[in-house]
Symmetry: C2
Protein backbone atom coordinates (compact mmCIF):
# COMPACT_ATOMS: atom_id res chain seq x y z
CA UNK A 1 0.00 0.00 0.00
CA UNK A 2 1.71 3.17 -1.22
CA UNK A 3 0.96 6.69 -0.16
CA UNK A 4 0.44 8.49 -3.47
CA UNK A 5 -0.96 11.83 -2.34
CA UNK A 6 -1.22 13.80 0.90
CA UNK A 7 -4.31 15.99 0.67
CA UNK A 8 -5.60 18.72 2.95
CA UNK A 9 -8.29 16.54 4.53
CA UNK A 10 -7.49 13.07 3.12
CA UNK A 11 -4.44 10.97 2.24
CA UNK A 12 -4.58 8.67 -0.78
CA UNK A 13 -2.96 5.22 -0.95
CA UNK A 14 -2.73 2.90 -3.94
CA UNK A 15 -3.76 -0.71 -3.24
CA UNK A 16 -2.29 -3.77 -4.95
CA UNK A 17 -5.63 -4.39 -6.66
CA UNK A 18 -5.26 -1.09 -8.50
CA UNK A 19 -7.96 0.52 -6.37
CA UNK A 20 -7.29 3.43 -4.02
CA UNK A 21 -7.74 3.85 -0.30
CA UNK A 22 -8.78 7.28 0.99
CA UNK A 23 -7.77 7.92 4.61
CA UNK A 24 -10.00 10.58 6.15
CA UNK A 25 -8.10 12.93 8.48
CA UNK A 26 -9.31 15.12 11.32
CA UNK A 27 -8.14 18.24 9.47
CA UNK A 28 -10.84 20.50 8.06
CA UNK A 29 -10.61 23.45 5.69
CA UNK A 30 -10.96 26.95 7.02
CA UNK A 31 -9.04 30.01 8.06
CA UNK A 32 -7.79 31.14 11.45
CA UNK A 33 -9.41 28.24 13.28
CA UNK A 34 -12.85 28.82 11.72
CA UNK A 35 -14.35 26.16 9.45
CA UNK A 36 -15.13 27.28 5.87
CA UNK A 37 -16.05 24.69 3.22
CA UNK A 38 -14.88 27.10 0.51
CA UNK A 39 -11.41 27.64 2.01
CA UNK A 40 -8.20 26.31 0.45
CA UNK A 41 -6.23 25.87 3.65
CA UNK A 42 -6.52 23.57 6.64
CA UNK A 43 -7.98 25.85 9.26
CA UNK A 44 -8.25 23.52 12.23
CA UNK A 45 -8.16 19.95 13.46
CA UNK A 46 -11.28 18.49 15.10
CA UNK A 47 -11.13 15.09 16.85
CA UNK A 48 -13.48 12.71 15.08
CA UNK A 49 -13.93 14.95 12.01
CA UNK A 50 -12.45 12.27 9.69
CA UNK A 51 -14.74 9.48 10.85
CA UNK A 52 -17.79 11.76 10.92
CA UNK A 53 -17.06 12.83 7.35
CA UNK A 54 -16.62 9.25 6.26
CA UNK A 55 -19.88 8.10 7.90
CA UNK A 56 -21.84 10.72 5.97
CA UNK A 57 -19.90 9.98 2.78
CA UNK A 58 -20.62 6.24 3.10
CA UNK A 59 -24.31 6.85 3.70
CA UNK A 60 -24.63 9.25 0.74
CA UNK A 61 -22.57 7.13 -1.66
CA UNK A 62 -24.66 4.05 -0.80
CA UNK A 63 -27.83 6.07 -1.36
CA UNK A 64 -26.49 7.10 -4.79
CA UNK A 65 -25.64 3.46 -5.56
CA UNK A 66 -29.25 2.47 -4.88
CA UNK A 67 -30.27 5.10 -7.40
CA UNK A 68 -27.76 3.75 -9.97
CA UNK A 69 -25.84 7.03 -10.03
CA UNK A 70 -22.22 6.25 -10.98
CA UNK A 71 -19.53 6.97 -8.33
CA UNK A 72 -16.01 5.76 -7.53
CA UNK A 73 -17.19 4.21 -4.23
CA UNK A 74 -16.48 0.53 -3.43
CA UNK A 75 -16.73 0.28 0.37
CA UNK A 76 -15.70 1.95 3.62
CA UNK A 77 -14.31 1.06 7.04
CA UNK A 78 -15.51 3.54 9.63
CA UNK A 79 -13.16 2.06 12.26
CA UNK A 80 -10.09 2.75 10.10
CA UNK A 81 -11.54 5.98 8.67
CA UNK A 82 -10.83 4.65 5.18
CA UNK A 83 -12.84 4.35 1.97
CA UNK A 84 -11.89 2.10 -0.96
CA UNK A 85 -12.56 3.58 -4.38
CA UNK A 86 -12.05 2.74 -8.04
CA UNK A 87 -9.27 4.61 -9.86
CA UNK A 88 -10.57 7.61 -11.77
CA UNK A 89 -8.87 10.32 -13.80
CA UNK A 90 -9.79 13.92 -13.07
CA UNK A 91 -10.69 16.66 -15.57
CA UNK A 92 -7.64 18.78 -16.33
CA UNK A 93 -5.82 19.27 -13.03
CA UNK A 94 -9.08 18.93 -11.11
CA UNK A 95 -12.32 20.86 -11.11
CA UNK A 96 -15.06 21.40 -8.55
CA UNK A 97 -18.72 21.57 -9.42
CA UNK A 98 -20.96 23.59 -7.15
CA UNK A 99 -24.73 23.30 -6.91
CA UNK A 100 -26.37 26.27 -5.22
CA UNK A 101 -29.83 26.52 -3.64
CA UNK A 102 -29.23 29.80 -1.86
CA UNK A 103 -26.94 32.75 -2.59
CA UNK A 104 -24.08 32.56 -0.09
CA UNK A 105 -20.27 32.24 -0.17
CA UNK A 106 -18.29 33.09 -3.30
CA UNK A 107 -21.45 33.40 -5.42
CA UNK A 108 -22.69 36.22 -3.22
CA UNK A 109 -19.24 37.81 -3.17
CA UNK A 110 -19.22 37.86 -6.98
CA UNK A 111 -22.84 38.71 -7.77
CA UNK A 112 -23.93 40.69 -4.72
CA UNK A 113 -24.92 43.59 -7.01
CA UNK A 114 -27.82 41.47 -8.28
CA UNK A 115 -28.80 39.22 -5.40
CA UNK A 116 -29.46 39.34 -1.65
CA UNK A 117 -27.69 37.07 0.83
CA UNK A 118 -29.61 33.81 1.20
CA UNK A 119 -31.89 34.42 -1.80
CA UNK A 120 -33.12 31.09 -3.27
CA UNK A 121 -31.40 29.78 -6.41
CA UNK A 122 -32.83 27.00 -8.56
CA UNK A 123 -30.16 24.21 -8.45
CA UNK A 124 -27.68 26.63 -9.96
CA UNK A 125 -24.54 24.85 -11.20
CA UNK A 126 -21.09 26.39 -11.67
CA UNK A 127 -17.60 25.03 -12.10
CA UNK A 128 -14.37 26.23 -10.50
CA UNK A 129 -10.80 25.15 -11.15
CA UNK A 130 -8.90 23.50 -8.32
CA UNK A 131 -6.06 26.01 -8.20
CA UNK A 132 -5.12 27.22 -4.72
CA UNK A 133 -2.64 29.73 -6.10
CA UNK A 134 -5.33 31.45 -8.19
CA UNK A 135 -8.03 31.05 -5.55
CA UNK A 136 -10.14 28.45 -7.42
CA UNK A 137 -11.37 30.69 -10.26
CA UNK A 138 -14.85 30.08 -11.72
CA UNK A 139 -14.79 28.92 -15.32
CA UNK A 140 -17.43 28.88 -18.05
CA UNK A 141 -18.56 25.98 -20.25
CA UNK A 142 -16.89 27.67 -23.23
CA UNK A 143 -13.57 28.10 -21.40
CA UNK A 144 -13.63 24.49 -20.14
CA UNK A 145 -14.09 23.35 -23.73
CA UNK A 146 -11.45 25.68 -25.17
CA UNK A 147 -8.85 24.73 -22.56
CA UNK A 148 -9.63 21.06 -23.31
CA UNK A 149 -10.62 20.34 -19.73
CA UNK A 150 -14.13 19.14 -20.61
CA UNK A 151 -16.04 18.84 -23.90
CA UNK A 152 -19.46 20.47 -24.27
CA UNK A 153 -21.09 17.02 -24.20
CA UNK A 154 -19.24 16.15 -21.00
CA UNK A 155 -20.29 19.48 -19.50
CA UNK A 156 -23.95 18.66 -20.17
CA UNK A 157 -23.57 15.28 -18.43
CA UNK A 158 -21.66 16.83 -15.53
CA UNK A 159 -24.30 19.50 -15.03
CA UNK A 160 -27.20 17.07 -15.07
CA UNK A 161 -25.39 14.60 -12.74
CA UNK A 162 -24.60 17.48 -10.37
CA UNK A 163 -28.26 18.51 -10.16
CA UNK A 164 -29.40 14.91 -9.75
CA UNK A 165 -26.87 14.11 -7.00
CA UNK A 166 -27.32 17.42 -5.18
CA UNK A 167 -31.08 16.94 -5.17
CA UNK A 168 -30.63 13.49 -3.57
CA UNK A 169 -28.48 15.04 -0.82
CA UNK A 170 -30.92 17.92 -0.42
CA UNK A 171 -33.83 15.49 0.04
CA UNK A 172 -31.92 13.38 2.58
CA UNK A 173 -31.15 16.51 4.59
CA UNK A 174 -34.75 17.71 4.30
CA UNK A 175 -35.92 14.51 6.03
CA UNK A 176 -34.18 15.85 9.15
CA UNK A 177 -35.48 19.37 8.59
CA UNK A 178 -32.07 20.50 7.43
CA UNK A 179 -31.75 22.78 4.42
CA UNK A 180 -28.94 22.45 1.90
CA UNK A 181 -27.69 25.89 0.79
CA UNK A 182 -24.88 24.70 -1.50
CA UNK A 183 -22.68 21.69 -2.14
CA UNK A 184 -19.32 21.19 -3.87
CA UNK A 185 -18.82 17.96 -5.82
CA UNK A 186 -15.89 16.44 -7.68
CA UNK A 187 -16.09 14.26 -10.74
CA UNK A 188 -13.72 12.02 -12.68
CA UNK A 189 -13.73 9.57 -15.55
CA UNK A 190 -13.72 5.77 -15.12
CA UNK A 191 -13.55 3.99 -18.51
CA UNK A 192 -14.91 7.10 -20.22
CA UNK A 193 -17.89 7.30 -17.90
CA UNK A 194 -18.28 10.45 -15.76
CA UNK A 195 -18.60 9.49 -12.10
CA UNK A 196 -18.77 11.25 -8.75
CA UNK A 197 -15.48 11.02 -6.83
CA UNK A 198 -14.04 12.39 -3.56
CA UNK A 199 -16.42 12.63 -0.59
CA UNK A 200 -19.85 13.98 0.39
CA UNK A 201 -19.76 15.28 3.95
CA UNK A 202 -20.29 18.37 6.03
CA UNK A 203 -16.91 19.54 4.77
CA UNK A 204 -18.16 20.21 1.27
CA UNK A 205 -21.59 21.62 1.82
CA UNK A 206 -23.37 24.39 3.69
CA UNK A 207 -26.33 23.02 5.64
CA UNK A 208 -28.69 25.09 7.80
CA UNK A 209 -31.32 24.23 10.39
CA UNK A 210 -33.82 26.83 11.56
CA UNK A 211 -31.76 29.45 9.71
CA UNK A 212 -28.59 28.51 11.60
CA UNK A 213 -25.47 27.05 9.94
CA UNK A 214 -24.65 23.47 11.03
CA UNK A 215 -20.98 22.57 11.57
CA UNK A 216 -19.76 19.36 9.84
CA UNK A 217 -19.62 17.26 13.04
CA UNK A 218 -23.04 18.43 14.11
CA UNK A 219 -24.40 17.55 10.66
CA UNK A 220 -23.18 13.97 11.05
CA UNK A 221 -24.89 13.73 14.45
CA UNK A 222 -28.17 15.16 13.16
CA UNK A 223 -28.17 12.90 10.12
CA UNK A 224 -26.97 9.60 11.58
CA UNK A 225 -27.52 9.45 15.32
CA UNK B 1 -28.43 69.68 -22.90
CA UNK B 2 -28.27 68.02 -19.49
CA UNK B 3 -25.30 66.21 -18.00
CA UNK B 4 -26.77 62.86 -16.96
CA UNK B 5 -23.65 60.85 -16.13
CA UNK B 6 -19.99 61.58 -15.42
CA UNK B 7 -18.00 58.51 -16.47
CA UNK B 8 -14.33 57.65 -16.02
CA UNK B 9 -13.40 58.46 -19.61
CA UNK B 10 -16.60 60.06 -20.98
CA UNK B 11 -19.41 62.33 -19.81
CA UNK B 12 -22.94 61.74 -21.05
CA UNK B 13 -25.44 64.50 -21.90
CA UNK B 14 -29.09 64.14 -22.88
CA UNK B 15 -30.13 66.11 -25.97
CA UNK B 16 -33.55 67.63 -26.55
CA UNK B 17 -34.15 65.15 -29.37
CA UNK B 18 -33.95 62.30 -26.85
CA UNK B 19 -30.56 61.23 -28.19
CA UNK B 20 -27.40 61.34 -26.09
CA UNK B 21 -24.11 63.16 -26.55
CA UNK B 22 -20.94 61.43 -25.36
CA UNK B 23 -18.10 63.81 -24.54
CA UNK B 24 -14.75 62.02 -24.79
CA UNK B 25 -12.29 63.10 -22.08
CA UNK B 26 -8.52 62.95 -21.94
CA UNK B 27 -8.68 60.62 -18.93
CA UNK B 28 -7.72 57.00 -19.52
CA UNK B 29 -8.07 53.94 -17.29
CA UNK B 30 -5.06 52.54 -15.50
CA UNK B 31 -3.25 52.43 -12.21
CA UNK B 32 -0.41 54.54 -10.85
CA UNK B 33 0.01 56.46 -14.07
CA UNK B 34 0.21 53.35 -16.27
CA UNK B 35 -2.50 52.70 -18.87
CA UNK B 36 -4.43 49.41 -18.45
CA UNK B 37 -7.59 48.81 -20.53
CA UNK B 38 -8.79 46.35 -17.85
CA UNK B 39 -8.48 48.83 -14.96
CA UNK B 40 -11.42 50.36 -13.13
CA UNK B 41 -9.80 53.62 -12.18
CA UNK B 42 -8.59 56.64 -14.10
CA UNK B 43 -4.85 56.13 -14.10
CA UNK B 44 -3.67 59.15 -15.99
CA UNK B 45 -4.64 62.03 -18.26
CA UNK B 46 -3.12 62.27 -21.72
CA UNK B 47 -3.61 65.38 -23.87
CA UNK B 48 -5.50 64.43 -26.99
CA UNK B 49 -6.58 61.01 -25.71
CA UNK B 50 -10.28 61.90 -25.96
CA UNK B 51 -10.11 63.04 -29.59
CA UNK B 52 -7.86 60.13 -30.58
CA UNK B 53 -10.33 57.68 -29.00
CA UNK B 54 -13.24 59.33 -30.78
CA UNK B 55 -11.47 59.27 -34.17
CA UNK B 56 -10.97 55.53 -33.92
CA UNK B 57 -14.47 55.02 -32.56
CA UNK B 58 -15.99 57.00 -35.45
CA UNK B 59 -13.99 55.05 -38.00
CA UNK B 60 -14.93 51.66 -36.51
CA UNK B 61 -18.61 52.50 -35.98
CA UNK B 62 -18.88 53.72 -39.59
CA UNK B 63 -17.22 50.53 -40.77
CA UNK B 64 -19.79 48.51 -38.78
CA UNK B 65 -22.61 50.59 -40.27
CA UNK B 66 -21.40 49.67 -43.78
CA UNK B 67 -21.64 46.04 -42.73
CA UNK B 68 -25.19 46.56 -41.35
CA UNK B 69 -24.13 45.66 -37.81
CA UNK B 70 -26.46 47.47 -35.37
CA UNK B 71 -24.89 50.11 -33.10
CA UNK B 72 -26.04 53.20 -31.18
CA UNK B 73 -23.91 55.49 -33.37
CA UNK B 74 -25.46 58.50 -35.13
CA UNK B 75 -22.55 60.85 -35.83
CA UNK B 76 -19.46 62.44 -34.30
CA UNK B 77 -17.72 65.79 -34.10
CA UNK B 78 -13.98 65.32 -33.75
CA UNK B 79 -13.47 69.03 -33.09
CA UNK B 80 -15.78 68.95 -30.04
CA UNK B 81 -14.72 65.41 -29.04
CA UNK B 82 -18.39 64.42 -28.98
CA UNK B 83 -20.41 61.56 -30.42
CA UNK B 84 -24.20 61.55 -30.80
CA UNK B 85 -25.87 58.23 -30.10
CA UNK B 86 -29.35 56.72 -29.86
CA UNK B 87 -30.67 56.01 -26.38
CA UNK B 88 -30.15 52.40 -25.35
CA UNK B 89 -30.84 50.47 -22.16
CA UNK B 90 -28.06 48.34 -20.74
CA UNK B 91 -28.28 44.73 -19.52
CA UNK B 92 -28.72 44.63 -15.75
CA UNK B 93 -26.48 47.38 -14.33
CA UNK B 94 -24.12 47.00 -17.28
CA UNK B 95 -22.02 44.16 -18.64
CA UNK B 96 -18.84 43.99 -20.67
CA UNK B 97 -18.24 41.41 -23.35
CA UNK B 98 -14.66 40.45 -24.07
CA UNK B 99 -13.41 38.75 -27.20
CA UNK B 100 -9.96 37.18 -26.82
CA UNK B 101 -7.49 36.18 -29.50
CA UNK B 102 -4.52 35.69 -27.19
CA UNK B 103 -4.29 34.75 -23.50
CA UNK B 104 -3.35 37.93 -21.62
CA UNK B 105 -4.81 40.07 -18.83
CA UNK B 106 -7.45 38.70 -16.47
CA UNK B 107 -7.92 35.55 -18.55
CA UNK B 108 -4.29 34.62 -17.99
CA UNK B 109 -4.52 35.54 -14.31
CA UNK B 110 -7.49 33.18 -13.91
CA UNK B 111 -6.47 30.28 -16.14
CA UNK B 112 -2.67 30.42 -16.05
CA UNK B 113 -2.62 26.82 -14.82
CA UNK B 114 -3.80 25.72 -18.28
CA UNK B 115 -2.41 28.28 -20.69
CA UNK B 116 0.79 30.18 -21.49
CA UNK B 117 0.94 33.96 -21.75
CA UNK B 118 0.11 35.05 -25.29
CA UNK B 119 -1.15 31.63 -26.43
CA UNK B 120 -3.68 32.01 -29.30
CA UNK B 121 -7.39 31.76 -28.46
CA UNK B 122 -10.08 31.28 -31.09
CA UNK B 123 -12.34 34.38 -30.74
CA UNK B 124 -13.05 33.37 -27.15
CA UNK B 125 -15.99 35.30 -25.69
CA UNK B 126 -16.66 35.96 -22.01
CA UNK B 127 -18.85 38.35 -20.08
CA UNK B 128 -18.02 40.34 -16.97
CA UNK B 129 -20.26 42.47 -14.80
CA UNK B 130 -19.55 46.19 -14.58
CA UNK B 131 -19.03 46.29 -10.82
CA UNK B 132 -15.97 48.24 -9.67
CA UNK B 133 -16.53 47.25 -6.05
CA UNK B 134 -16.38 43.54 -6.91
CA UNK B 135 -13.65 43.99 -9.51
CA UNK B 136 -15.81 43.20 -12.58
CA UNK B 137 -16.44 39.50 -11.90
CA UNK B 138 -16.76 37.10 -14.86
CA UNK B 139 -20.21 35.59 -15.19
CA UNK B 140 -21.51 32.53 -17.03
CA UNK B 141 -24.39 32.26 -19.48
CA UNK B 142 -26.38 30.32 -16.84
CA UNK B 143 -25.80 32.97 -14.16
CA UNK B 144 -26.72 35.81 -16.56
CA UNK B 145 -29.98 34.00 -17.28
CA UNK B 146 -30.72 33.18 -13.63
CA UNK B 147 -30.02 36.73 -12.44
CA UNK B 148 -32.32 37.97 -15.25
CA UNK B 149 -29.57 40.07 -16.80
CA UNK B 150 -29.76 38.36 -20.19
CA UNK B 151 -31.87 35.49 -21.56
CA UNK B 152 -30.18 32.50 -23.20
CA UNK B 153 -31.44 33.66 -26.60
CA UNK B 154 -30.00 37.14 -26.00
CA UNK B 155 -26.71 35.56 -24.90
CA UNK B 156 -26.48 33.68 -28.21
CA UNK B 157 -27.04 36.92 -30.16
CA UNK B 158 -24.58 38.83 -27.97
CA UNK B 159 -21.90 36.17 -28.45
CA UNK B 160 -22.28 36.01 -32.20
CA UNK B 161 -22.38 39.84 -32.54
CA UNK B 162 -19.24 40.06 -30.37
CA UNK B 163 -17.33 37.65 -32.60
CA UNK B 164 -18.56 39.37 -35.76
CA UNK B 165 -17.66 42.89 -34.53
CA UNK B 166 -14.33 41.84 -33.02
CA UNK B 167 -13.36 40.13 -36.26
CA UNK B 168 -14.09 43.35 -38.18
CA UNK B 169 -11.80 45.31 -35.81
CA UNK B 170 -9.15 42.58 -35.98
CA UNK B 171 -9.16 42.72 -39.78
CA UNK B 172 -8.92 46.51 -39.83
CA UNK B 173 -5.92 46.36 -37.49
CA UNK B 174 -4.35 43.56 -39.53
CA UNK B 175 -4.32 45.86 -42.60
CA UNK B 176 -1.73 47.95 -40.71
CA UNK B 177 0.13 44.85 -39.48
CA UNK B 178 -1.28 45.30 -36.02
CA UNK B 179 -2.52 42.28 -34.08
CA UNK B 180 -5.60 42.43 -31.84
CA UNK B 181 -5.05 40.41 -28.62
CA UNK B 182 -8.38 41.19 -26.97
CA UNK B 183 -11.20 43.71 -27.04
CA UNK B 184 -13.90 44.73 -24.59
CA UNK B 185 -17.31 45.68 -26.00
CA UNK B 186 -20.53 46.97 -24.46
CA UNK B 187 -24.02 46.25 -25.67
CA UNK B 188 -27.48 47.60 -25.01
CA UNK B 189 -31.04 47.25 -26.25
CA UNK B 190 -32.71 49.70 -28.63
CA UNK B 191 -36.36 48.75 -29.28
CA UNK B 192 -35.60 45.16 -28.24
CA UNK B 193 -32.72 44.90 -30.69
CA UNK B 194 -29.26 44.17 -29.26
CA UNK B 195 -26.81 46.83 -30.44
CA UNK B 196 -23.19 47.78 -29.81
CA UNK B 197 -22.88 50.84 -27.57
CA UNK B 198 -20.05 52.84 -25.90
CA UNK B 199 -16.85 53.26 -27.91
CA UNK B 200 -14.23 51.28 -29.83
CA UNK B 201 -10.80 52.75 -29.29
CA UNK B 202 -7.36 51.94 -28.00
CA UNK B 203 -8.82 52.28 -24.51
CA UNK B 204 -10.80 49.08 -24.77
CA UNK B 205 -8.49 46.78 -26.63
CA UNK B 206 -4.97 45.38 -26.48
CA UNK B 207 -3.23 45.82 -29.82
CA UNK B 208 0.33 44.67 -30.58
CA UNK B 209 2.76 45.36 -33.40
CA UNK B 210 5.87 43.24 -33.88
CA UNK B 211 5.17 41.68 -30.48
CA UNK B 212 5.09 45.09 -28.77
CA UNK B 213 2.02 46.58 -27.08
CA UNK B 214 0.68 49.74 -28.72
CA UNK B 215 -0.56 52.55 -26.47
CA UNK B 216 -4.02 54.04 -27.33
CA UNK B 217 -2.67 57.27 -28.83
CA UNK B 218 -0.10 55.44 -30.87
CA UNK B 219 -2.81 53.10 -32.16
CA UNK B 220 -4.81 56.05 -33.44
CA UNK B 221 -1.73 57.39 -35.23
CA UNK B 222 -0.90 54.03 -36.81
CA UNK B 223 -4.49 53.45 -37.91
CA UNK B 224 -5.50 56.91 -39.13
CA UNK B 225 -2.48 59.01 -40.02
Amino acid sequence: MNLVYKGKTKDVYQLETGNYLLKFKDDVTGENGVFDPGANTVGLTIDGAGKAGLKLTKMFFEKLKEKKIPTHYIDASIEDATMTVKPATVFGKGIEVICRYRAVGSFLRRYGMYIEEGQPLDSFVEVTLKDDERNDPPISEDALDMLKILTKDEYAILKSLTIEISNVIKEELAKKNIELYDIKLEFGRINNEIVLIDEISGGNMRAYKDGKYIEPLQLEKLMLQ
